[in-house]
């Protein structure tokens, strides 16, 4: 099925460990985004990409890194995990401006706990 796939679905990390959250889409979308969602808070933008090789910081980028070597993949890297990074992470993608009416397509999320 076409869409955005995120792995893993759940993960527990110890403080100071590192990990990569995977995101891949098969819709040939140029734009991809990483959001985090904390209880009682809106989704906050971490990083985004407008195409392969192009990334930029969002509202809350500290403690994270991204890369975009292909159109399909947009991994999010956590270095030196901290309890403040406990959250649910969503990857999203969208096509060209003419498809604004269809919004973003979101993945099912990765629930990360840092202990």
């Amino acid at each position: 099925n076409a869409g955005v796939t995120q792995t893993p679905k759940f993960r527990i990390l110890k403080i100071g460990q590192s990990m990569t959250l995977q995101c891949t889409q098969d819709m040939n979308h140029n734009y991809m985004y990483w959001y985090r969602q904390d209880p009682g808070m809106g989704l906050k933008l971490i990083y985004y990409s407008v195409g392969a090789g192009i990334t930029d910081k969002g509202e809350v980028p500290n403690g994270y890194n991204v890369s975009r070597s292909t159109t399909e993949d947009f991994p999010l890297r956590l270095e030196l995990a901290a309890p403040s990074q406990t959250s649910v992470y969503f990857c999203a993608s969208r096509g060209s401006f003419v498809s604004d009416a269809y919004g973003y397509t979101f993945g099912s999320g990765t629930r990360l706990t840092v202990v």
Binding site: G40, G42, L45, F90, D100, G103, Y104, F106, S108, G109
Partner: protein
Amino acid sequence: EDQVTQSPEALRLQEGESSSLNCSYTVSGLRGLFWYRQDPGKGPEFLFTLYSAGEEKEKERLKATLTKKESFLHITAPKPEDSATYLCAVQIDSGYSTLTFGKGTMLLVSP
């Protein structure tokens, strides 16, 4: 600073009891306003995009409207399966189509 405020935070309705959710925004240069539905443990699911004041869109029991300061999501004769969190987000003229989200309204429809 761009802001999106949703109210109420939570709403409990009886099946068939119509109501409205509110999304007020203060942004410079609104390009579009988006409504999403989010079920527990899942990612947001796109519902509507509105672009200009006066615009309305409908989907089954849902109707979204837009003014220059706010948007409403009207739910007519809701059913238990409409229970979810409804998210509002705005897209502004500058930037690469990033969205700024409100905190959401959690809707519970009881049979």
